[in-house]
């Protein structure tokens, strides 16, 4: 089993290193790829090989419609493909050998075209669900042609970007929507809504105390509550939130700075205004807002604005909002 390493710096270093043992390099590349694509579970597989004996990079691109793991299982008859994700090039055919079996200009072109394809595919890391790369060669590293090394370096950069995106996606996945569409959650929500209907139907229960609204608002900000659903019933709009477990609360809590941003956005400020006052880029604010909405279980900034307006009208008053949020902004540029 290949030991895992921090992704890709070793690859780039090895590609440019003066004299690196090929086995070591191979192992570095494999580790890096393994790190980058560990846990991938879907759709696209690409394999290519560097054939130093022929001084060529051979490429086989396989774009699978079927899930990647299944493809691996079929192609290589592996019981547990996950552990072999990268070391799979054994039987892969190459575009080059397919195009022209003997070394020729046509073959060179086919190989170059194949590598270009691979670079194009990997250049859009967001589309890159699966890449498996394996290298097999017998000559020392310094005999890899320079263009090939450059392509490998670019490839490594692409793979690194894919790994970053994947990490970001995993991060997002840790904050899933609370309505996952499963039968259990659907049934649970039907019961909660029915119970709530009963409550709402009863005449009892009066104006909420301001403390309740403060509790609700701060609960959302601090991760104690997460909105699950917002729907209309009997002419009323209902914002239903779940009380989170302590562990979930910790992961959904907004940071101090996120709170400041979200208070401003909720009060109707635009991202560019907040960005101006905070001295950061608008995209930083937009990204923070998207992250916060996900944590709070909201789907759109309008939900935040509306909820805040309603709670504010109900008595979520200025002095109950953390004082930091009320720091006076610089004069608007529009003024």
């Amino acid at each position: 089993m290949i030991r895992l390493r921090a992704p890709f710096e070793p690859v780039v270093a090895a590609i440019y290193g003066p004299s690196v043992d090929e086995r070591e390099w191979l192992s570095e590349v494999r580790s890096a790829c393994l790190v980058a694509f560990e846990g991938c579970s879907d759709v696209q597989a690409i394999t290519f090989s560097v054939d130093l004996e022929a001084q060529r990079m051979n490429l086989a691109t396989v774009v699978c419609g079927a899930p990647f793991e299944d493809a691996l299982r079929e192609s290589y008859a592996l019981a547990d493909p996950r552990t072999f994700k990268v070391a799979i090039n054994a039987g892969s055919m190459t575009l080059a050998s397919k195009a022209a079996p003997t070394p020729s200009l046509a073959r060179d072109r086919a190989v170059a075209g194949g590598v270009q394809d691979l670079l194009q595919l990997t250049a859009r890391p967001s589309k890159l669900l699966h890449v498996a790369v394996s290298f097999s060669f017998t000559h020392p590293l310094e005999r890899i042609p320079t263009p090939t090394r450059q392509m490998l370096r670019r490839l490594a950069a692409h793979l690194e970007a894919a790994a970053r995106l994947r990490a970001a996606a995993q991060n997002a996945a840790r904050m899933p929507s609370l309505l996952d569409g499963s039968a259990a959650s659907t049934e649970m929500h039907a019961r909660v809504k029915a119970a709530l209907e009963d409550d709402l139907g009863r005449a009892s229960g009066g104006e909420p105390r301001a403390a309740h609204l403060v509790e609700f608002w701060h609960g959302l900000l601090s991760g104690r509550y997460a909105m699950v659903e917002r729907y209309e019933s009997r002419g009323r709009r209902v914002v239903l939130a779940r009380v989170n477990s302590p562990a979930e609360t910790a992961s959904r809590a907004l940071s101090e700075r996120e709170r400041l941003v979200i208070e401003r956005i909720a009060a109707g400020d635009r991202a560019h205004q907040v960005a101006h006052d905070f001295g950061v880029r608008e995209s930083t604010i937009s990204a923070a807002v998207a992250r916060c909405l996900r944590k709070m279980g909201l789907r759109h900034v309008t939900e935040l604005v509306e909820l805040h307006a309603v709670l504010a009208a109900g008595g979520l008053s200025a002095d109950l909002i953390p004082s930091g949020a009320l720091a006076s902004p610089r004069p608007s540029r529009r003024a």
Binding site: L213, Y225, T302, A313, G314
Partner: protein, 100 residues
């Protein structure tokens, strides 16, 4: 009763709910019937494309309706729109802005 707060427990999980009357502010009278529907969907966070699909008209039609509604309601962003639909309530909002 405009606003209420409920707490409930179902199967050991606790839930809270805030509910309020859906705003039907008078300013909506300025809009045509379809503008009103479109604007309410838009204020709920749907995209113009989603609304177009739902109403089986072109995205461009929806964009036109939204823009004429914006003109009539004197707003220039979706956030403004949402706050203006809650007009009575936004007056009480601790305004953090220099805006009126």
């Amino acid at each position: 009763m405009h606003l209420r707060f409920d707490e409930l427990e179902v199967d050991g999980e606790r839930w809270v709910a805030v509910s309020y009357l859906v705003p039907r502010p008078a300013i909506l009278q300025r809009l045509t019937a379809s503008e009103r529907v479109v604007v309410e969907l838009y204020a709920n966070g749907l995209s113009a494309r989603e609304i177009a699909r739902e109403r089986s008209v072109s995205t461009r039609t929806i964009a036109n309706q939204i823009s004429s509604a914006y003109r009539k309601l004197k707003v220039n962003s979706r956030t403004d729109l949402v706050t203006s639909l809650h007009h009575a309530t936004t007056r009480a909002t601790p305004s953090l802005r220099g805006r009126q």
